[in-house]
Symmetry: C2
């Protein structure tokens, strides 16, 4: 799977946050380095920087000091909230020492922010935890990953140290697309796509390149056998269609001038980093999305997107 | 499929409403009689009465007069609201002549009450149409089929001529069971399972055998190839487990005394009819639900239900 999908992410992007929810989780430096090396082999000679994340647990100061220069941040998963998150955090109050250390050392915290409540309410219910952390650790840079609700968008303006990413698909689909007609397992993801008013708020914030909002694909490949079955896995594989679809979306809304900031500029400024240089050119020549990449069905499989990447350097 | 599933419904029940959303729809007497005869062949010598429904369209007085003694009621589908409903009604106002005739002739109206809105709001949005019909045709007996929301339960007490059915599965599952963990295509149905507070209101009304609420299984078999796929069909096949599960549920809540009214008595009183005589005995001996009946995966496949039907006469 890694050999199949890494080149597809590496092709269009100069870097990507590499999520640590593997089995076992990437929660020590040794495992992180092995994983990074595997990705660097899989990407071949493409210009691409895997921005490594540690899986959140209680870390000692020595562990964080050793990891610091090798990581982009630490990703916190509530236990059981999503794929391979069983080893996640059960009680935020039990891990505050690590938050404090991260704040002092300037290590960003990324969070999969969902409770274990009713599926449509899980993100909204988690917002109080974001507020608590943002207030208690005012120098800790906190990113609400893959937000899906209007409430989360509104929270961006209330706490200086609170940021967010949003996926491509949550700008486009709602629960109607997943379960309003026939059930569409290939559009099933976590957090689940929400209501029309949520999608509208996310899209509006993206189109204006809200300064605290960053693009994050959350591209998640699963083999077709795990998607079209009884008990299908959560995640959309979007990497090959992210840029063409974003250009289509931003053009449709007359917001192309904001696309660079949304996809790249905001993240560079927020995280104060300079990515590897890569220039991607898109032209309106049409891209027929393959039905499959190996065993993986991509988002928009079989569709023709008006825009295509025509050169990369 | 008919040969496979008819005996399974016929075994535990002395009759069942036979829904008319076939391709093509059962919207004339000839087709209805052919369908009824096929069911009677498929049921074999089991005591079972197929209570036939016509697919709603504009009918003439002569058509209704001819159909009247052969039908239990007429089922209205908003066009495109569910499986095989493309031929359904686009505008209620365009078919009021038929409502008026049905009211005069005492023919019950059953409705799949959903709009084309956001999937979690469709039933709630349709409630205004129920109110309109209940007020405009006060002698027309209207059944809200397979209700899924607290709002629909509350509406029962507001209009004398408004009744409802509820399925087994909507007493038990919410959207969390369908899409809160892995995606479960075998729990996908229309209307989709709603929120916890909706399920609680439905269950409370069922357990007290609310006098205007009737059990209606909406048992809908689909071959596994239409359930575990890309774009899965809506419907649960519950017929073989309805009675054992209802006994389990009503016993758990100390409401066994109300089960007979919920499953049978209320419908007999509301529709003023006497079903074929059948006595079904359940005992706490355990029922292992088969993984499949032919190509159909039943609700609770592979589970053991404490109660089982042990004799029928």
């Amino acid at each position: 799977m890694m050999e199949r999908v890494t080149p597809l992410s590496a092709e269009h992007f100069s870097g990507a946050i590499i999520m640590p929810n593997l089995v076992p989780p990437v929660d020590n430096l040794e495992r992180l380095q092995v994983y990074r090396d595997q990705i660097n082999v899989a990407k071949g000679d493409t210009v691409f920087d895997p921005l490594m994340m540690l899986f959140f647990r209680n870390y000692s100061e020595a562990e964080l000091a050793a990891a610091r220069e090798h990581i982009f941040g630490i990703k916190l998963y509530p236990a059981g909230a999503t794929t391979n998150s069983e080893a996640g955090v059960k009680e935020l109050s039990a891990v505050e020492g690590t938050f404090k250390l991260m704040e002092e050392m300037g290590i960003p915290l990324m969070i999969h922010g969902e409770t274990h409540g009713f599926v449509m309410d899980r993100e909204k219910e988690f917002l109080a935890s974001y507020e608590y952390l943002a207030q208690k650790f005012p120098k800790l840079k906190i990113t609400m990953e893959h937000i899906t609700t209007r409430d989360a968008v509104e929270m961006l303006d209330r706490y200086e140290n609170l940021y967010a990413t949003v996926t491509l698909h949550h700008l486009i689909i709602t629960l109607n697309d997943v379960a309003g007609g026939m059930l569409q397992p290939h559009l099933f993801c976590k957090p689940i796509a929400k209501r029309p008013e949520d999608r509208e708020a996310l899209l509006a914030a993206a189109l204006q390149a809200h300064p605290k909002l960053m693009f994050g694909s959350d591209s998640a490949p699963h083999p077709i056998s795990k998607k079209e079955c009884c008990g299908c896995a959560a995640g959309l594989f979007t990497a090959p269609v992210c840029l063409p679809t974003l250009v289509e979306l931003f053009e449709e809304h007359g917001a192309l001038d904001n696309l660079q900031a949304f996809v790249s500029g905001n993240a560079q400024r927020i995280h104060n980093f300079t990515p590897l240089s890569k220039t991607v050119k898109l032209e309106k020549v049409g891209m027929l999305v393959p039905e499959r990449y190996g065993e993986v069905v991509p988002y928009r499989a079989g569709e023709t997107i008006p825009w295509a990447v025509t050169s990369i350097h």
